[in-house]
Amino acid sequence: MLAALATLREDERGAEQSLMEQLSRRDQTALERLYDRYSTLVYSLLLRMTQEAASAEDLTQEVFLKVWRNAHLYESSRGSLEAWLVTVARNLALDHIRSKQEKQRRREDAATLAIAVARPQTEEWVDRRKRMEQVRSLMTSLPPEQRRSLELAYFEGLTQTEIAARLDQPLGTVKSWLRNALLRLRGELGGRS
């Protein structure tokens, strides 16, 4: 079973690398496939973070244009395409939020890219639905304070100090909440990386 999963992931990585190579050659059909596969995930994240449909639409286009221009930087050995796309989208959204709020805060360098696989679309769709259910189930099962801390860090880009101030809790308490929440998350999703 584990060997089969490992083989499947190898196949996925190979397909992702192939898709990114097509993008590097300016193959527009590859961009269309990429968009059709990931646009809902990217747009959902951007809408949740920006809370503005117009901004989420603009940023969605920017994410895929960034991939189009930087496809040659993608290395499948550094992670999945989905993780790369989500990282790019989140960083763009955080930049947008910070720019809007005129906040000056350091930003983690974004340098990870990744793409999807050429499995049958229905199978892939079901797989992603299951993953969505898995994450939402995890979030629901977290204690409310852990879930809130995680959401503030991920969707709003707050640091531990900022979360402590927002929730009016000691810094050490917030650190503990985030640590426990992240460990649960890694326990649930770590095997997919």
């Binding site: 527009q28 747009y43 994240l45 809408l47 229905t122 629901t140 860090a153 992240l182």
Partner: protein, 251 residues
């Protein structure tokens, strides 16, 4: 060998919540090209990226795709018979223009019109492909064995119909659905037999009032008592803040 604390730091770094000396330490290791750290941070980013699935599901409007493809379009590339015909015709017109110089100006105008037509057809083609994929997903859910049908009724709006299949997902369909205000959205909720409503994503009807929304409920249908739809601020809410407009009992 990575310690448990180090793995935790990678996760917090990927989340963006790490601060102070710990943050500087990880950043320095990455800057120096430390392979163990690079690998650890990459794995942590993949884990943290999973949180994106916690966002309420929303489909981008069709014009976003169209705009993106227009931004990267290379006018001399074509992908279907229609553009080939357009360009073949354009080439013929060009040759003719060389042979009869007096008509060159008119042919330039025709060429521009053909190019504009090609771009229009290409955009429409992309939109049709996207819609076809949506209908394929809908058909998969509606026709699958075990799919449950739920009618959602409202006092002053047309009835909506939901089709729910585990694990394929839930389709919500309706016609002549009134659009929420520009800064508002419709949000679907799963009402469990016990506990608070569960967010099932946000959606808007199209310009004609047609609604076709696909989502993946966070709970099993056996635990759900009803479906409800509320009008919420754009982006959705963690819990309903208004009285449901549509409600449907799950029998």
């Amino acid at each position: 060998m990575e310690t448990k604390d180090r793995q935790q730091q990678y996760l917090e770094f990927a989340l963006g919540s790490l601060e102070g000396d710990e943050y500087e330490e990880i950043r320095d290791l990455l800057a120096r090209g430390d392979q163990e750290c690079s690998r650890g941070v990459a794995e942590a980013r993949a884990v943290v990226a999973g949180l994106s699935y916690a966002a309420p599901e929303a489909t981008p409007p069709a014009h976003v795709r169209k705009r993106l493809l227009a931004a990267v379009a290379e006018p001399r590339r074509s992908r279907s018979w229609t553009p080939y015909l357009a360009w073949a015709a354009a080439a013929g017109l060009l040759i003719f223009a060389v042979l009869s110089g007096s008509r060159a100006r008119n042919l330039e105008v025709e060429l521009a019109n053909l190019q504009q037509r090609y771009e229009q057809l290409s955009g429409e083609h992309q939109q049709i492909l996207a819609e076809t994929e949506t209908y394929r997903q809908v058909l998969t859910i509606v026709s699958a064995p075990g799919t449950r049908s739920v009618s959602l009724s409202a006092q002053q709006s047309p009835q909506l119909q939901a089709y729910w299949n585990e694990p394929l997902g839930l389709v919500l369909a309706g016609q002549n659905v009134p659009a929420p205000a520009a800064d508002r959205t419709l949000q679907l909720w799963i009402i469990p037999a016990q506990g608070n409503p569960i967010d099932a994503g946000i959606f808007r009807p199209d310009d004609t009032g047609r609604t076709l929304y696909i989502t993946s409920p966070g709970i099993s249908i056996s635990q759900a008592a009803a479906l409800a739809i509320t009008d919420e601020p754009a982006g959705g809410q963690p819990q309903p803040t208004t009285t449901p407009i549509w409600v449907g009992q799950i029998g």
